[in-house]
Subunit: 219 residues, 2 copies
């Protein structure tokens, strides 16, 4: 079962975005990821803003076999070279990273590509077919990504979701201060899942935190 | 003649390391590079510490056709994905970037790989055959790379050069506050070339600055 998840079959329901500072470095990220997967997390993203490449690559090397053994996709934030080096399942890019089309060219057709979107213009600017999913947010303001822009709120999220155009449209995961208390409200907008940072990384019991989120979102 | 320089044939004599702030952004780097190549620069490295990937990639896209048309290798600092995206001639890594062996695996056998080395331990730690050249320094202290460690001085540079082991050893380019006034002294240690940042990027006449350096180093 040590195979990668096909690009068409990934599950955004509960998407853990790792914060190395909150988790306590590489060992902490491994511990949190293992617990969070046991608790029901369906995707994992390694995001380590400002980390030098060696440390980022070390972290990816530690996380890749763990995620692969559970068939949970490991997505690398920004660094396509690290994704290639560890044969990760995909890459997530923001508006100031590589364009999705370039990531697709570098990664090939079998990998998952996600793009951060915070407004209608950014959504419309994505080349058709380039992204497999969009990370839409911040739903609420967040300390973990201060440059993420103004909060959308539930209404703003709904407005953006109206841009979806049928089955060919990328899936959507919402992000930005989502936790077990507000996740149901987010899911009711029709998103395919929620992405969380603090709700799991800052928890003293990440497995239980993931379980609680799973119950709320009904996955 | 729009072909890449073979890995075996690169010339380290006068290696321009671009500083985007000194040059004035992407347009400035293009202007400086064009003038510096006219003045005799033999290699160009794009280094933009702290730049996000989109901006870094934009700069690489602008520099690649210019360097390629003059058959001057363009080397990308740190970001293997950017090098792959623009088909650059190689990658330069520091001690906190990807290990050279991993860069070789990602880039293939035809590209040039350089590694920064500041002491004997770092030199010995490089996997045999992984690096095509070493960037050794800082010879003198430099404001453009404050984390580069203590200055080697000419004597320290000579000590490190004693680690070279015959023709299979990587070539060496010295770096760290090298300019037209001190370049001869550096060349006399037996290095294959000098790398400069400020001496060209901060010059009001980069072509003449490169010419002056070429005369001193005798290339």
């Amino acid at each position: 079962m040590n195979t990668e998840v096909p690009r068409a079959a990934f599950d955004l329901s509960l998407y853990l975005v790792l914060d190395p500072d909150m988790c306590g470095g590489v060992a902490g990220m491994v511990r949190v990821t293992e617990a969070a997967i046991a608790g029901g997390v369906t995707m994992v993203q390694l995001r380590a803003i400002g980390w030098r490449k060696r440390a980022f690559w070390d972290a990816a090397c530690a996380l890749q076999p763990l995620c692969r053994s559970h068939r949970v996709p490991l997505i690398i934030n920004d660094h396509v070279d690290v994704a290639l080096a560890v044969d990760a399942d995909g890459v997530h890019v923001g508006q100031r990273d590589f364009p999705a089309k370039e990531v697709r060219r570098l990664l090939g057709e079998t990998k998952i590509i996600g793009v951060s979107v915070s407004n209608a213009q950014e959504w419309r600017d994505i080349e058709p077919g380039a992204a497999d999913y969009l990370g839409v947010g911040p739903v609420w303001l967040t300390a973990t990504k201060p440059e993420a822009g103004p909060a959308l709120g539930i209404d703003g999220l709904r407005s953006l979701l109206a841009l979806r155009a049928g089955a060919a449209s990328p899936k959507v995961v919402a992000i930005g201060s989502i936790n077990a208390h507000n996740a149901r409200e987010v899911m009711e907008t029709g998103v395919d899942g929620v992405a969380v940072v603090s709700a799991i990384c800052a928890s003293e019991a990440p497995e239980e935190a993931a379980q609680a989120l799973c119950e709320v979102i009904g996955s």
